[in-house]
C-alpha cells in the first residue's frame, strides 16, 4: 500500500513541477479564478437589481388626459432610476430600436386612448424585448407596477380629470406565441459553442504544428504568412459553421427551438464572430510555443467572456465598467446579433452595427496577428 502511494506522490510532484516551470500556464492558473470570482461578484451585486433600463415611449394620442398620463408614466419610470425613457415618434422607429437592442420595451399610447379612458377602460400596449427572460421579467414587472400606481392615482383623481377609468396593460412580444425560455437562451448557447469551439481548435492548430515541427515544413514553402494564418483561420471558421449547423438542428429536433430569422444572416454573424475570435486567439497564443500553455491562455480569454457577453444574463446586469469591457470583445456582438436574427427575425438593418463591429474586429485583429505571427516564427 505504501509503495503505490509513494509512486502516486512522485508522479503528482513531477506533474506539478512541470506545470510550475511553464510561466504562461502558472499565470493563467492563478489569474483565472481571480477573474471569475471578480466577475461573479460584480455580476450579482448584493445591493440591488438592474437599473436604468432603456425603454421607448410612443405617443399617438394628443388628448390632455393621455399627455398627463405619459408625463406621470415617465416621471415614475425614471424616478428611482429603474428605467431610462426615450420617446419615439412612431411605432416602427421604436420597434427598430427594440430590434437593435437600444431599448428593451416599447410602451405605446394609442390614438384614442384619452377617449377610451373617459369611457371607463383603456388599454396600453407594451412590446417587450423577449431576448433575455431575466430582463424580460424585470421590465414587465416594472412597467406593470408603474401602471398599477397610475391606476391608483387615477382612482384618487390625482392630477387627472375625475371622469377617467382604469388602464390595463397588454404585453406582447415581437414574435408570435409564447416562446419558451430555452428559445431565448439557445441562440446564446449556439453562438458561444461555435465561437468557443473555434477558439479552442485554433490553439491546437498553431501550437500543435509548431510543436510537431510541421509548421516549419509549411514555412519552408514559398507561401506567404498571410496565407498560412488566414488558411488556418478559415479552417476554424468552416468547422465552426458546421458545428453551428449541427447544434441548431439538434436544438430544433430535441428542444423545439424555432428559427424566425434569415439563416444566411445567422451564418454570416457566426462566421464573422469566429473570424474575430480567431484573430484575437492568434494574437494571444503567439507568445507561447506549447499546446497546453496556448489552451490555458484561450481558457483565460474564453471563461470571463462567456459570463459577461449576455449569454446567460443581460449585459445590463453588469456594472458600467464591466459592461464596457464586455463591449471590447466580439462575443457580445455575435450573441446579440445572432439572437436578434434567430429569435426576433431581425432584418439586416437591425443588426448591421453588430456585423460591422465584427468585421472591423476581424480586420484589425488579423492586421495585428499576421505580422505578429511572422515575427514569432522567424525571430
Amino acid at each position: 500500500m505504501k509503495r503505490p502511494i509513494y509512486h502516486l506522490y512522485i508522479i503528482m510532484r513531477k506533474d506539478l513541477t512541470e506545470f510550475y516551470r511553464v510561466r504562461a500556464r502558472l499565470v493563467s492558473m492563478i489569474l483565472l479564478p481571480i477573474l471569475l470570482m471578480l466577475l461573479f461578484g460584480y455580476m450579482f451585486p448584493s445591493n440591488g437589481t438592474i437599473t436604468h433600463i432603456p425603454i421607448a415611449v410612443v405617443n399617438q394620442d394628443q388628448s390632455t388626459a393621455t399627455l398627463s398620463m405619459i408625463n406621470s408614466f415617465i416621471y415614475m419610470a425614471q424616478y428611482g432610476g429603474s428605467f431610462n425613457v426615450i420617446t419615439y415618434s412612431s411605432v416602427s422607429q421604436a420597434e427598430q430600436a427594440l430590434l437593435q437592442g437600444k431599448v428593451y420595451a416599447v410602451v405605446i399610447f394609442r390614438q384614442g386612448l384619452g377617449q377610451e379612458l373617459s369611457t371607463g377602460k383603456a388599454t396600453v400596449q407594451v412590446i417587450v424585448d423577449q431576448m433575455n427572460p431575466t430582463l424580460d421579467q424585470i421590465v414587465t414587472a416594472g412597467i406593470q407596477q408603474i401602471f398599477s400606481q397610475l391606476n391608483v392615482q387615477l382612482n384618487m383623481n390625482q392630477g387627472f380629470p375625475s371622469s377617467l377609468g382604469t388602464i390595463s396593460v397588454n404585453f406582447q412580444g415581437l414574435i408570435p406565441g409564447a416562446p419558451s425560455s430555452f428559445e431565448f437562451l439557445a441562440p446564446g448557447f449556439i453562438a458561444m459553442s461555435v465561437v468557443m469551439g473555434g477558439l479552442a481548435g485554433l490553439a491546437m492548430a498553431f501550437s500543435r504544428e509548431r510543436e510537431l515541427g510541421t509548421m516549419d515544413g509549411i514555412l519552408m514553402t514559398p507561401v506567404s504568412r498571410f496565407s498560412i494564418v488566414m488558411g488556418k483561420a478559415m479552417a476554424q471558421a468552416v468547422r465552426g459553421i458546421i458545428s453551428g449547423i449541427i447544434i441548431v438542428i439538434l436544438s430544433i429536433l430535441l428542444f423545439g427551438v424555432k428559427i424566425y430569422g434569415n439563416v444566411f444572416l445567422m451564418a454570416l454573424i457566426l462566421f464573422l464572430g469566429i473570424l474575430a475570435f480567431t484573430g484575437l486567439g492568434i494574437i494571444a497564443t503567439s507568445f507561447v510555443s506549447d499546446q497546453e500553455s496556448a489552451q490555458m491562455i484561450m481558457l483565460m480569454l474564453e471563461m470571463p467572456m462567456i459570463f459577461i457577453s449576455g449569454i446567460f444574463y443581460p449585459v445590463l446586469q453588469l456594472p458600467w465598467w464591466l459592461r464596457n469591457i464586455a463591449y471590447m470583445f466580439p462575443l457580445v456582438y455575435t450573441v446579440t446579433g445572432f439572437r436578434s436574427v434567430m429569435v426576433m427575425n431581425a432584418p439586416f438593418y437591425a443588426v448591421w452595427n453588430d456585423v460591422v463591429v465584427l468585421l472591423i474586429y476581424s480586420v484589425v485583429t488579423f492586421a495585428i496577428a499576421i505580422p505578429l505571427f511572422q515575427r514569432m516564427v522567424t525571430k
Partner: protein, 256 residues
C-alpha cells in the same frame, strides 16, 4: 556560379545568447557538405536561417545566388529540407501529405500527381500510398519525409540528422539515397552526430562548436591535417573529449 550556398558572417542572437557567431562558409554545387558539431553548437539554427525560417541577426547568405533575406520566396523554391522532426501529418496518407506540400510549392496538379507517384515508387512506398502515415514505422515515415523534401525538384537538399532513430536497414537505404541525390547533381547539406555517416558520405566537412565554425575543408584534407584516420578523431580533437553540459538558450536566459 559554382556555389550553392555562400554565407558571410552569419549571426543569430536569441536575447543575449549568441547561437551562431559570424559564420562564413561556402558549399560547392553538387557536393555533400557535412555539418557536424556537439549538441547546442548552432547547426540547427544555422540551417533554419538558410531555410529562411529564422531571420539572421547579422550577416548575409545566398542560396544559388538568391539572398535569403531579400529573396526568401525564391530561396524556398530551391531548397528541400528533411528535418529530424518529421514534417508530415499523421492522419493523412503519403499521397495526401505530398500533394498538400506540392500544392504549397505551386506544382501543377497534373504534374504533381505524376511526381508523387514517381517519388513514392522511388522510396518504395507505393503499396501503402493510401494508408495514414501515422500507421507507418519511423523508417517508412522518414522515406515519405524525404519524398516530401524532393517534391519540387530542389537544387539544394538539407538533411538534418536524417538517420536518427532508424533501424540499420533504413539507415542504409537513406545513406544510399543521399549518394543517389549527389549522383543526380543535387547539392546536399548533411548534419549528423554519426561520424561514420559523415565520413562515408561527405565531400566537405565543417565542424561547428559554440556558434562558430572551427574547421572546414575537404574530408581527406582535414584527416591529413590532424593526422587522423577518421573524421570522428578530427571532431574530438577540435571539440574535446569531455562531456558537455549544454543548456538551451531559452532555459539559460531564465537563469536555470
Amino acid at each position: 556560379m559554382s556555389y550553392a550556398v555562400e554565407a558571410e558572417n552569419l549571426t543569430k542572437y536569441f536575447g543575449n545568447l549568441i547561437a551562431v557567431d559570424g559564420v562564413t562558409f561556402k558549399v560547392r554545387k553538387g557536393e555533400i557538405f557535412g555539418l557536424v558539431g556537439p549538441n547546442g553548437a548552432g547547426k540547427s539554427t544555422l540551417i533554419r536561417m538558410i531555410c529562411t525560417v529564422l531571420r539572421p541577426s547579422a550577416g548575409r547568405a545566398y542560396v544559388e545566388g538568391y539572398d535569403i533575406m531579400k529573396q526568401s520566396q525564391e530561396v524556398r523554391k530551391l531548397i528541400g529540407v528533411v528535418q529530424e522532426k518529421l514534417i508530415l501529418y499523421a492522419p493523412l496518407t503519403p499521397v495526401e501529405n505530398l500533394e498538400f506540400f506540392g500544392k504549397l510549392y505551386g506544382i501543377e496538379p497534373k504534374v504533381l500527381k505524376e511526381r508523387v507517384k514517381e517519388l513514392l515508387e522511388e522510396v518504395k512506398l507505393i503499396a501503402v500510398k493510401d494508408k495514414p502515415v501515422g500507421t507507418f514505422s519511423t523508417g517508412m515515415r522518414q522515406r515519405v519525409n524525404i519524398a516530401r523534401a524532393l517534391l519540387h525538384d530542389p537544387k539544394l537538399v538539407i538533411l538534418d540528422e536524417p538517420t536518427n532513430g532508424l533501424d540499420p536497414q533504413s539507415v542504409r537505404w537513406v545513406r544510399d539515397y543521399i549518394l543517389n541525390m549527389k549522383n543526380k547533381g543535387l547539392t546536399v547539406i548533411l548534419t549528423s552526430h554519426d561520424m561514420y555517416e559523415i565520413d562515408e558520405l561527405s565531400d566537405t566537412v565543417a565542424i561547428m562548436d559554440k556558434g562558430k565554425i572551427l574547421e572546414i575543408g575537404k574530408k581527406e584534407d582535414l584527416k591529413a591535417k590532424y593526422k587522423a584516420n577518421k573524421i570522428e578523431d578530427v571532431f574530438l580533437e577540435l571539440t574535446g573529449r569531455g562531456l558537455r553540459d549544454e543548456i538551451s538558450g531559452r532555459l539559460r536566459r531564465r537563469g536555470w
